[in-house]
């Protein structure tokens, strides 16, 4: 962000954008944790371009991404763990980006949690006054020696 003297109304407007985007991510995370796919999709632009942690290099457009969400939902029948940690946002006039760590996994039949951390970057676009997610990128790092994803790292 450029640091310069701004009128009080402009400063309030920046904070307001961050508040709106935090609310967007919060609602999206609640929807993701329950696989409420319609509510997940409502957070995205129609032309969303997504890099997910599994399945494909990229998903182009809301329809393709919806199908991926549906496939993921079929893989995870039980209650999900989906916690957003360390959310940071930088907002401009109509474009913003942010990143966070997500602790995600599932609760087993025995009640035990099986969860790990991944990292997320997202980009938002404001259209008609509303912020929506136009890009998101989920991943885990991998160990080049073993060639395997590192799913048990802690922040």
């Amino acid at each position: 962000m450029q640091h310069h003297q701004t009128a009080a109304s402009e400063r309030f407007s920046q904070t307001d954008d961050e508040t709106q985007i935090r609310a967007l991510i919060d609602d999206w995370a609640k929807a993701a944790g329950t696989f409420d796919i319609d509510r997940v999709m409502a957070a995205y632009t129609p032309d969303i371009l997504a890099f997910d942690a599994i399945a494909q290099l990229q998903f182009k457009g809301a329809q393709a991404y919806r199908e991926h969400w549906q496939a993921c939902s079929a893989m995870c029948p039980g209650p999900m763990i989906f916690e957003v940690h360390d959310l940071a946002i930088e907002a401009g006039d109509d474009i913003a980006f942010g990143h966070y760590l997500v602790r995600c996994g599932a609760v087993g039949e025995d009640g035990k949690e099986d969860a790990g951390y991944m990292r997320v970057t997202f980009g938002c676009r404001r259209t008609s006054g509303k912020w929506k997610i136009a890009h998101e990128h989920f991943s885990a790092p991998f160990d080049p020696e073993s060639g395997k994803a590192l799913l048990r790292l802690e922040p």
Binding site: Q2, L57, Q58, S139, A149
Partner: protein
């Protein structure tokens, strides 16, 4: 004041396709990378192998 989010597939030296998200901040008129996220997916077939063999 605007922020740009760029995304690209780039080919690493081991000829694998990675995904990259770049986020820029304008500082005194110059765009700088403030956040970078590079990855490949992993296989959910029990191996959790990094998927360095995918093509667009």
């Amino acid at each position: 004041m605007t922020e740009n989010v760029g995304r690209a597939d780039d080919e690493a030296q081991i000829t694998a396709f990675f995904r990259q998200t770049l986020c820029f901040r304008k500082i005194r008129g110059a765009w700088k990378i403030a956040h970078q996220h590079e990855s490949v997916p992993f296989y959910m077939d029990g191996s959790y192998r990094a998927a360095v063999d995918l093509e667009p």
